[in-house]
Amino acid sequence: MVNAYAIHPATIVEKIREAEDINTYRLQLVDEQVRRGFCFKAGQFNMVYLFGVGEVAISIVSDPDEPELLDHTIRSVGRITTAVAGLQPGDVLGIRGPFGQGWPLDQAHGCDVVIVTGGLGCAPVVGAIEYIFRRRAQYGAIKILHGVKTPHDLLYRERFDAWRRSPDTEVLLTSDQPDKSWSYRIGVVTELFELVSIDPPKSIVLMCGPEIMMRLGVPILMRRGIPATAIYVSLERHMECGIGLCGHCQMGPYFVCKDGPVMRYDRVAQWLGRAGV
């Protein structure tokens, strides 16, 4: 019987500073057999464990074709993530996973891919973007729309620049609380929709960020002709087990850890924005 609670040590190979309170940890599983057996899909997550402190659900942002090194972008917001921030390369974390449903990247073959993200919400989708760029010929046009509160919140700046320079790719960045350093758009991410051309029948939308962004953004996209069945959202809930047992991540009939975190919009539409769900 597989014990889904088993935690596997993983060494921090590299720590990449993304912002003042955000780092990407590149992890390598210590046990060779576990490392070789580990495979994941973009959009899935791991439970990341710190000795003596506990576990937290973090999405895997690196390429699924290189599962030997697993990138996790972590913001210091709670007890565990704050303690993790003190670690350095060579220190050891634990990994349990991968869990959940990833992005529908096979289904997106031949489609234009519209990626809408807000804040740190871009992290779970970065893996999907990199995946698409490495298999560029299999996909149509790529539109990346990303909103941040302040310029300080913009992660992966070099990646956005690199994507912008790629053919058949549009990258639009916006900040709703910009300062003088900000050279991109001003406003919230949903305001970017009118700036891009979208071909509804051949488009698929990947969305990740605050739920308010989804609730306000999806109706606009649907008015542009994109069906709810072509819109995928990655959701966030309290998770402790990753296997649909501990009960915390429930949203209506779903366990977000098991049935999500990536879910087709039409399946969750009635639950998003319902008070207390």
């Binding site: 040590p9 000795f51 003596g52 402190v53 309290h238 501990c246 009939p253």
Partner: protein
């Protein structure tokens, strides 16, 4: 003549010790109901005299009392706060023991050796609860090895109910009062005799070793009559024909505010519920920080932390949490597991300190609000 397989045997109540001894001989630790601090709880029993002979429970919303009747009835107490849940889904289960090593840490899985445990006195509602927990912990995408180990060693001796509590509504939930499956042996206490029947190969094996006389048709009929009378005497019932949709549709019903005004969010209902399965994982390092216990404990959707994500609580109010609990139990549970999350045991009614009764709340929630009432509510 001894009984053939699948038939009913008769065991004089005075000879129940023979069954306990037979189980002990087979290596089972026997757990049964025992009187403890004014209630009945599962404890290891060695002798029939450890069982609550002559005791009866009276249960009402927010009230549990034991009374001594002076009779020789062994199974007069219907149930205490515990279902079978704590025997398989332990209130606290060490998952891993993790030690610091020079190059990181090493985690040891704390899966126990299966222990042979025979529990005597489980009711039909308890069996229904166990079947639901089996579905969740054993038959979902993952099989939980800790639950599986405890479950594997469990031998269940059920007791058919011949007396209903005021809080019982198993008949309307179609889970009792007769135990129909999920047991190894089942007893029906009729006066000074126990009608005994096997429900599994292991049960037939134990029963065969007791060399009992077969029960007469008359006794079998009398037992059935007692069980039927118990079903008919239940004063609470629950109409679940319009679930799950009717409850999903009631999300904005004003009754939630009303019940939230009474609910203390104490979590008692979730602790006594035979099916609630939420747990939290806790890390307890030793003082030297060299070793840490990674264990799970029962959690409740009534706690403030349950719906917490950084910077936000998904269910900040008691109204949100009561609605989460009841909607899960009677609506989303059906979508998740293909069955109701309620077995009609009535424990949540008895052990609620303010006596919230879901057989009252659910019909109220599924009654459409009259427009005039809702206007008054808004204006008031």
């Amino acid at each position: 003549m001894s009984i053939a397989s699948g038939m009913h045997g008769i065991l004089p109540t005075a000879n129940l010790q023979r069954l306990l001894d037979a189980l002990s001989t087979k290596g089972y630790r026997i757990i049964g109901p025992t009187v403890h601090d004014g209630s009945v709880v599962w404890e290891t029993v060695r002798s029939v005299s450890d069982l609550p002979i002559g005791w009866r429970d009276q249960q009402e919303p927010a009230r549990y009392r034991l009374e001594q009747t002076g009779s020789q009835d062994i199974f007069g107490v219907v149930h205490g706060p515990q279902s079978l849940k704590p025997l398989v889904f332990a209130p606290r289960e060490p998952l891993l023991q993790i030690e610091r090593t020079k190059d990181g840490f090493a985690a040891r899985q704390m899966i126990l050796q299966p222990e042979k445990v025979a529990v005597i006195g489980a009711r039909a509602c308890d069996l229904a609860g166990l079947a639901i927990q089996d579905r969740i912990f054993l038959k979902d995408a993952y099989c939980d090895p800790y639950y599986a180990t405890r479950r594997e060693g469990l031998f269940v001796i059920a007791v058919n109910c011949t007396r209903a509590l005021s809080t019982c509504f198993c008949a309307s939930m179609e889970t009792g009062p007769r135990a129909t499956n999920g047991f190894d042996l089942v007893l029906t206490e009729v006066d000074d005799r126990l009608l005994i029947e096997a429900g599994s190969e292991a049960g037939r094996h134990v029963l065969g070793g007791l060399s009992l006389s077969p029960a007469s048709e008359e006794l079998i009929g009398e037992a059935a009559k007692c069980i039927d009378a118990c079903a008919r005497s239940q004063v609470r019932r629950l109409d679940h024909t319009h679930l799950p949709q009717a409850l999903y549709d009631a999300h904005e019903h004003p009754r939630w505010n009303d019940v939230a005004g009474r609910c203390l969010a104490c979590a008692n209902c979730t602790m006594v519920c035979p099916t609630c399965f939420c747990y939290t994982v806790e890390e307890t390092p030793d003082l030297s920080h060299q070793q840490t216990d990674h264990a799970r404990s029962w959690d409740s959707c009534f706690t403030q932390e349950h719906g917490y994500i950084h910077g936000k609580n998904i269910r900040p109010t008691i109204k949100d949490r009561y609605r989460m609990w009841l909607t899960h139990k009677f609506a989303s549970w059906i979508d998740q597991f293909g069955m109701s999350g309620c077995v009609g045991c009535g424990r949540c009614i008895t052990w609620c300190p303010v006596g919230i009764d879901l057989t009252e709340e659910l019909p109220a929630l599924m009654t459409p609000v009259q427009p005039s009432v809702s206007r008054r509510h808004v204006e008031g």
